[in-house]
């Protein structure tokens, strides 16, 4: 009964079409959630946007929360995959941070919707279940940890001042998130490229003019 033409993938057209439909639903949902937030989007709305019937969504996702969670998973991997490699890249710690910071321009351009999905309802009980909340924490960690490791390495090697790497990482990350979100919300009014260079200046050199004495 099952002929299994291409035994590599478990599927043929049936399966491919199904995945295609799944993608269309995810894509419509992403657009809407990013635009209006979890609570302000109904399953009916998503179904209409994806050009399916309401019930069809439940052939792919057990619940609205599961749909949202799936989006979170997918987009998080995509975004993390884009910025994290910078921290493993070549160059010294300063270069890595610089590269990391500037990569955010690309994220803002290529993954605007995903960013809004993640940042909009970032911190909050305004979200679905504890599962989503836990995932957010995990994603946060996946940024803060390598970031603070790079900073710690810089401190160890004497390139950086002896500051707390974790705090510095959190500050940098929070700053980037805020500026990125503003840029994504209003791309016309912002020159993110320029802004990120300024962020670099703030974090690298600090505010206070170093009295260039000895020590």
């Amino acid at each position: 009964m099952e002929v299994e033409i291409a035994s590599a993938g478990k599927s043929s057209r049936k399966e491919r079409e199904r995945q295609q439909h799944r993608q269309e639903i995810l894509s419509a949902a992403l657009r809407l959630f990013a635009e209006k937030g979890f609570h302000s989007v109904s399953m009916q709305e998503i179904a209409a946007a994806a050009e399916f019937a309401t019930g069809t969504l439940y052939n792919f996702f057990p619940s609205k929360e599961d749909l949202f969670f799936e989006l979170l998973l997918v987009t998080a991997e995509e975004s993390l995959g884009l910025v994290l490699p910078a921290l493993d890249g070549p160059g010294d710690e300063r270069d890595k941070l610089s590269h990391f910071i500037r990569l955010h321009v690309r994220i803002a351009r290529e993954q605007a919707a995903a960013l809004r999905l993640y940042l909009l309802e970032s911190r909050g009980r305004c979200l679905p279940g504890p599962r989503v909340e836990a995932k957010k924490k995990e994603i946060d960690e996946r940024i803060i940890l390598p970031l603070s490791n790079v900073i710690a390495a810089g401190v160890r090697k004497g390139h950086f001042n002896t500051i707390d790497p974790v705090i510095a990482a959190k500050c940098l990350s929070a700053s980037l998130e805020t500026l990125i979100l503003a840029a994504v919300d209003d791309p016309q009014a912002t020159d993110l490229n320029a802004d990120l260079k300024k962020v670099e200046a703030v974090f690298f050199n600090g505010l206070v003019k170093s009295r260039r004495g000895k020590a």
Copy 2:
């Protein structure tokens, strides 16, 4: 018919009691909103917590959104009133910033609920109407503007490096918000006092060890 005993205040016990009831409602609502977020709290729940009937809330506030908005107004003034004076205080720009940063410990202690109300659903369409959104923007401005003014003054006087004051203000503010929220969410696990000093170090001295040459 109206005797107006104390013509100074327009009221006597009647009015005072009414204000008292209003306060009790606001107080219960603040606690719940801060705990669970706007969408996850029902008017019934607020009423029960305040020990009133559901309908009574509507004798004080036209709608759930109005109730929330009122809370936002009140708590924002309170919080801003606590930190903003630091930026007008005595001392040079460095002192002002330092004072400003450290004041956040008090905010976290004294206005934990208000902070969660403001920060939890901070950025997002997870919120009620556009009115609330606009108010948030305004509150943000009320922090960023004076903060960037102080930084600009520091730059002008040559105490600070020549960085973009607005960007620096946004970075500092975002960093403080993030750390504060974490501290409010889990007071036991955090020594906010210590953390804020580290933030100060990061922002004042920067990451990169200044090659202490001439120039």
